[in-house]
Symmetry: C2
Subunit: 494 residues, 2 copies
Amino acid sequence: MTAFAELMAYQRETEALGQIAGRLGWDQETMMPLGAAEQRSEEMAAIEGVLHARRTDPRVGDWLAGAQAPDAAGQRSLALISRAYGRNACIPGRLAAEIARVTSMAQGIWAEARARNDVAHFLPTLERVVSLKREAGQALAAGGFGGGDVYDALLDDYEPGATGAGIAAIFGRMRPRLVALREALLGARHVPEPLSHKFDKAGQLALARELASAFGYDWNRGRLDTAVHPFSSGSGNDARITTRVSETDPFNCFYSTIHEVGHAAYELGIDQAYLLTPLGAGVSMGVHESQSRIYENQLGRSRAFTGWLFERMRETFGDFGVHDADTFYRTVNRVQPGFVRTEADEVHYNLHIMMRFDLERQLMSGALAVSDLQEAWNARFHADFGVKVDKPAHGMLQDVHWSVGLFGYFPTYALGNVYAGCLNKALRANVPDLDAALAQGDAAPATDWLRENLQRHGGLYEPAEVVARACGFAPDEGPLLDYLEAKFQALYGL
Amino acid sequence: MTAFAELMAYQRETEALGQIAGRLGWDQETMMPLGAAEQRSEEMAAIEGVLHARRTDPRVGDWLAGAQAPDAAGQRSLALISRAYGRNACIPGRLAAEIARVTSMAQGIWAEARARNDVAHFLPTLERVVSLKREAGQALAAGGFGGGDVYDALLDDYEPGATGAGIAAIFGRMRPRLVALREALLGARHVPEPLSHKFDKAGQLALARELASAFGYDWNRGRLDTAVHPFSSGSGNDARITTRVSETDPFNCFYSTIHEVGHAAYELGIDQAYLLTPLGAGVSMGVHESQSRIYENQLGRSRAFTGWLFERMRETFGDFGVHDADTFYRTVNRVQPGFVRTEADEVHYNLHIMMRFDLERQLMSGALAVSDLQEAWNARFHADFGVKVDKPAHGMLQDVHWSVGLFGYFPTYALGNVYAGCLNKALRANVPDLDAALAQGDAAPATDWLRENLQRHGGLYEPAEVVARACGFAPDEGPLLDYLEAKFQALYGL
C-alpha cells in the first residue's frame, strides 16, 4: 500500500470514530437518561482520547511526508489532514489536556453562574480559559497559523482563511446601514403584534415535520427529536436534527426546525464519494451557518413561504388571532431590540455578533481584562441597543461559547448571514420561479440549487471560494444589506 | 503509578469504549435512520477495531505480569482481565479477522435464507462459520481453556466454569421429568384458550411502562423503546430496554418488557464501586438469564402477579374475553408445543435448548456434518415435540446464533432457567410475604432481595458461586423441576 492509501484508510477510521463521538453527543441531548450523565462524561473522555491520539499519531506525519495524491480531491484531503495535524502539533500535550480539563469544568460553572446571575462565580474560571486559549493562539501563531496573529490563529479553526481584520472591515461597512435600518424600523408607526394564543405541542411537532419535508429533509437519513437547545448532528448519511416546543411561541419550534434542516441538508447534500473522508463534512462554520440561515430567513421567513405556513397553521390550530397572510408575514418578521442573541430578529442579530467579536478580540489581545468584561459588555450593549442590560444572564453570561473556549467562533454566525445574503441573490437569479414553489410549501427547488452549486462540494474548496463559485461573484456584505433594507422597509411601510 | 494502577486506568477506558460500542448497537436497533446502515457498519468496525487493539495490546500483558492487587476485588479484576487477554492471545489475528468478516456477512445470508426458507443458500456459509469456530475452539483448547476440550473452550466465553459434560448431566436429569410433565399437560381435559381480542398499541406500551416500574426499573438510569427483537443494552448507570407490540398478542409486549427489566435490573443493581471495571457487568450469560427468567416467569407469570395484571388489563382495554383472574392465569401460562424457541412456554423451552445443545456439540466435535444438520434437526424435533417441522424458518433457520458464531451460547438459556429455579426457592423462603406484594403489582421486594444477594456482586464471583452464595445451596435442576411440576399440575388440575 502507498503512503497515501495507508493515510486515507487510517483517516477513514478516524472519521468514523469522530461520527461516533458526535452520535454520543446527540444521544446525550436527546435520549440519555439523566442518571447516566457522570458515566457518559467518562465515555466521552475515552473516545475523545482515542481521537486525539489518532490525530496526533506520528505515523500521520510520516504518511503526509510520503503521500502522493492521485487527484484534486486527494490533494485537498492531504491539505486538510496536514493543516489539522500541523495545528495539533503546535499545541503541547500538557496545554491540550489542560484546556480539555478546564473547559469541561468551566461549562458547569458557567451554567451555575448564569442560573444565579452571579458573574463573580464565573470570572476566575473565565480568566483561566482566556489565558489558556491565548496561550494556544500564541503557540499556533508561532507555528505560522493565522499569519502569526493570535486571534486569527484561533479563528482559523472555525473559518479557515478568514482574518480578524477582514471581518472587522466587513462589520465596519455593515454597522451604519444596520443601525440606520434599526432606527427607522423602531420609529415606524405600524408595529406588528406578537402572537398571543397557545399552540398545542403535538400540533407544533407535526407541523415541524411537515416543514422539514417542505425543505427536502431526507427522513431516510435523518430524524427529528426535541432537545433543550436545538442542534443538528452527524455527517454523511446520518444527519439528525432537533427542535424545541414552547406553547406560546410556535415560531421558535418552526424556525429552529428549518434552521437545523439547513445544517443537515448541507451534510446530506455532500457528494457520496467524500463519505468518511476529510471532504465529507461542511467546510466551515460560516458556510454551515449560511445554509441554516438562508433556509430559516431568506426562504423560511419570505412572504411566499409564510403565506403557506399561515394556511397550515390555521388548519392545524384554528383561529389564532391573525386573520390574513400579510399580517402573519409581519408577525413572523417582527423587529425589536432584545437582550438575547438567540432570540434576535434578522436586523438585530448581526449587531449582537459585532459586539461579541470586538470584545473577544480584545480579550485575546489583552486589551480588555476579564475583570472589566461585564462593564464593557453592558456599556456596549447600551450604546448599540439603547437598552440597559437588566441581569447578567441577559448580558455577558448568556452564551456558552467563551466558557468552552470557543474564541473565534462568534463571527462565523455573521459571516454565515453575509454568505446567505450572497447565495440568496444568486439563487433568486437562477431559480426565478422559486416564490411560486415556496407559496405551495415547496422549498425543494432551493435545496436542489444549493446542493448542486454548494452543498455537494463538502470540504473540497475553501469557504470563500465555494461561496464565490456558487454565486458567480466574490462574497461581501452588500447583498445581505440590500435584502434586509428592501424586505424590512417594505414590511414596515417605510 | 504502579502496574496495577496503570492497568486499571487503561481498562477503565476500554470499558468506557465498550459501553460506547454497546450504545451504538442500541441506536442501530431503535433510532438509526435506515439509510445510515452502511455508514454505521464502518463506524462499528472502527470502534471494534479500537477495542480489539486495546484488548490485545502487549502492554496489558506487561502490566498483568507486574500487577499486585490491593484487595479481593482487585485480584478478581486481574483474573478477569488475564482470562480475556489469554483467550485473545490464543486466537491468531488472521483467524480473529476472518471470523469477524465471515460472521458479519453470514448474518445477512442467514436472514435471506430464513426469509426464503432456503437451507441450501445458508449451508456453505454455515460450513465456513463452523469450521472457523472449531479452529478457534481448538486454538483455545490448545491454550488450556475449557480443560483442553474444544466445545468447553467456546462455552467458557459465555459461562465461565461450565462444561459440556456437566450441562449434559443436568439436561439428562431434566429431560425425563420435563417430557413426563409435557405429556401429562397435553393430555389434560381442560386446556386454556388463547386470547382472541385486539389490544391497542398505545395502551400496551403504557402498561409495559407500568410493568417495568412494578419490577423496580430505575427510569433515571434507563429508558424503554421498541425494537424488532426486544433486547437490553448497557451497563453501569445506563441500562436501556426495548419491547415490541403486536395488537393480537399483548403478552409478547408485557413479558418481553419484564424479561428485559430483569437483565437491566442486574446491571443497574451492581455495586457502584465496580463501575467501568471488569466487575461492573453481569458475570455470565447464564446468571444474566436467571435474572430475566425469574422476573418474567417465577414472578411475572405467578398467580399473584397475574391477578394484578388481569385487573390492569381490564382497566386499560375493557372486556377482552377473559372474565376472572384464575382463567387469566391459565391463559398466561398456556402450554402447547410449537416450532419456535422464542415463543415457547416454560415447560417446552428447555426441550428446545437441549436439542440445540446436543446438535452444536456434535457440529463442533465433527460428529455431525453441516450438510446433515437439517435432517438431524427435523428428526430430533419430531422425536421431542411430536410434530414435524413444516418449514426451515420454523426449523434449523429460526435462530441467528449459529450464523454469528455463537456456539456454546444456547445452553446458557437453560442454565439461566436452572439458576432461576434455585433463586426462586431461596427468594420465597427469605421473603415469605412476596405474593401479597406481587398481588398489588409490587415486585420491588423481589428486586431488593436479588440485588442484595446476587446482582450487586457483578463479576466478583464465578457464576455457580454467586448463585450458590445467594441461595445458600449449590445450584442444580431440582428446584426448577419441582416448581414447574407443582405450578403446571395445579394449573391443569392434574
